[in-house]
Amino acid sequence: MLVSNNSEYAVTVKDLEKRFGSFQAVNKVSFQVRRGEIFGFLGPNGAGKSTTMRMLCGIIIPTAGEATVNGFDVFHQAEQIKNHIGYMSQKFSLYEDLTVEENIDFYSGIYQIPMVEKKNRKDWVVKMAGLDEHRNSLTAILPGGWRQRLALGCALLHKPPVIFLDEPTSGVDPISRRSFWELIYQLAAEGITVFVTTHYMDEAEYCDRLAMIYRGELVAIGTPDELKVKYMNNDVLNLECLDPFGALQAVNGIPEIREAALFGRGLHLAVNDASSSIPIIIKALQERKLVYTRLEKIIPSLEDVFVSIIESRDSSAGL
């Protein structure tokens, strides 16, 4: 065991590995999650996000490494872990032929909620999920956002100190996503540790801390702001203009510009140094008689950071 039960960390992971045959799904990943924080796991599909989470929930056994959840070792104390976590998978995993109440009752039974608390917990889940009028509806007929909230409620019935959410908002409309994240904030405010995977960059901004995973490896970790400062070697300029395609051609020949990409009605330009590059760019635009409305250094978005990290990884790997 790495840490004791009353440590400040809810999850500790050290050199965790998972191989499926010759495929290295997760490669020596290490990180720690503090109690009560919203910890985001960010990465493209197939990067190893879900595999890591499933190892922590006891669904799959790691190939090598060490990990604890709430102080329990994933190799030897999987059963204790299961009493202290809630898990919600990206696929709806309640019973569609059972009603809202029947699903809640079922998980109350599985988690052995005492009789005296049962009704309270059920009411809490129904209220939290906003399903008061649908207590007796089959879950099959509920829209996606409501199902997700019900699934979250069922995973929280036993008041677990740590909760794992695997892409909880995939396939859910933006308004439901918003309200789902409000729920997550409430949980964190109550001291629950929330471990969430996502590939939505805007959702990643809501997290207290983020780990970026790519091709099974942890490539960056920190608060969203730390990531933007620490892992961005370049400055990012925002260029707004009437003819973005013309501007793209104009700046493509400039050696100071490391990367140029269309972004909304303008361009995002990655440069080594903003102050020295801006005059060069202005000159190039004027030569082509292109009109621009704005050119300024901006704080990079997480997407900029992530793209930058991935490109430096791929180029160093010779891809």
């Binding site: 929930c57 006891g58 669904i59 799959i60 056994i61 059963e79 299961k82 009493n83 976590i85 809630g86 898990y87 998978s89 696929k91 709806f92 995993s93 309640l94 019973y95 569609e96 032929d97 059972l98 029947e102 009752d105 079922f106 998980y107 109350s108 039974g109 599985i110 988690y111 052995q112 794992f164």
Partner: protein, 377 residues
């Protein structure tokens, strides 16, 4: 094992079953249909053998001889013919399985005390029926012969002559040798094996296919709780099926149940857990509903029909196949049911078979438990 969690699973499974009336209907209608179909069509009795006669002799004696055949319940006289060509035609058209040819000199030879031959032609394309039918014909002819001998001795004024040795057959347990009396108890065992495995073959695979198994894995639920919780409602359905099957045997097929009815249900309760777990084990191994149900059908239906002693006598099988039959649980359930039904046997007689059924159930549940645990990772 935590009863609180087992009860949660049982309640959930009952809701699944009740919300799916088609499957529930199948679970109840299928055994009824199968027992009805097999029970009415599977008859191994040979009687009412169609017979044609070519009586070349045409005398009082020859007609008396033919009368012995028509009086027996084993033969139906389907007409007289006057040539071998007609005999052949009758057999071809399946109007006759046996043909009796009585030669011209039949009565003359009898009167002069010489041996009178008659010819019996049988349709060998169904060798089994032909053999049995020839046996019946032999029996009828023997009866006629001994009555002639007795009459002759009487006329010669001898003291009352008696046949030196006479076999007095008594068939115990099934006096009228009705096939249904031993087919129906065996059929109940075979059908219950198939239905039980089919019922449970979907349960675990469905959880995998719907992604609900992954959720269950992250809860404190243990494999044994899941297995026991899922077996219970299907056990109830299985027992209901047995009750229906026994009622059908009683009132539809009128098979006598000489033993204790409670013992029948007690033995069914011992047989069902193993049979149900077999289906569940298949479900655990395949994780696919389609594959699991097909495998369950093949793996229970064929051995139960062919290797259980239901259709073919185990004693006549090659020694290797005989060894295989010990792995077919329905073999032992069939012995139990036949003993209770036909012999009115008590528990002491079927103790060994009951023990083997229990062993089957325990071994299968343990294996399913281990396999489910391994499958979770």
């Amino acid at each position: 094992m935590n009863m609180y969690r087992v009860i949660a699973i049982i309640r959930k499974e009952f809701i699944h079953i009740l919300r799916d009336p088609r499957s529930l209907g199948m679970a109840i209608a299928m055994p009824i249909l199968l027992i009805f179909l097999f029970g009415s069509s599977l008859s191994l009795d040979v009687d009412h053998v169609p017979l044609v006669v070519w009586d070349q002799n045409g005398t009082h004696e020859s007609r008396e001889f033919i009368g012995r055949f028509t009086a027996s319940r084993y033969f139906d006289l389907n007409g007289h013919v006057t040539s071998y060509a007609e005999i052949e035609e009758a057999i071809d058209k399946r109007e006759a399985i046996l043909a009796l040819v009585i030669p011209r000199e039949f009565s003359r030879k009898l009167e002069s005390g010489r041996k009178a031959d008659v010819q019996l032609i049988a349709d060998g394309s169904d060798a089994n029926t032909a053999t049995i039918a020839i046996g019946y014909a032999q029996m009828v002819a023997d009866g006629y012969t001994s009555s002639l001998l007795l009459k002759a001795a009487d006329q010669q004024g001898a003291k009352r002559v008696k046949i030196p040795v006479e076999v007095q057959p008594r068939v115990w347990f099934n006096q009228n040798m009705l096939a249904k009396n031993y087919i129906i108890p065996g059929l109940i065992a075979v059908i219950m094996m198939v239905i039980s495995a089919l019922l449970t073959s979907l349960t675990i695979a469905r959880e995998w296919e719907n992604g609900t198994m992954e959720q269950l894995i992250t809860t404190p639920l243990t494999p044994s709780e899941l297995i026991v919780g899922k077996l219970t409602p299907y056990f109830a359905i299985g027992m209901l099926d047995v009750v229906l099957a026994v009622l059908m045997g009683q009132y539809l097929f009128e098979v006598p149940l000489r033993g204790n009815t409670a013992l029948v249900f007690g033995m069914a309760a011992l047989f069902l857990p193993g049979a149900l777990t077999m289906g569940m084990l298949i479900s655990i191994m395949t994780r696919s509903q389609l594959l699991a149900s097909q495998l369950a059908m093949v793996l229970t239906f064929l051995p139960s029909f062919l290797l259980s002693g239901f259709m073919y006598s185990i004693a006549n099988m090659p020694i290797v196949i005989q060894g295989l039959t010990y792995l077919v649980p329905s073999r032992f359930f069939i012995v139990i049911l036949k003993n209770i039904y036909l012999k009115g046997a008590g528990f002491a007689i079927i103790l060994t078979e009951a023990g083997i059924l229990l062993l089957f159930a325990v071994v299968l549940i343990v294996v399913a438990n281990i396999k489910l645990k391994k499958r979770l990772v």
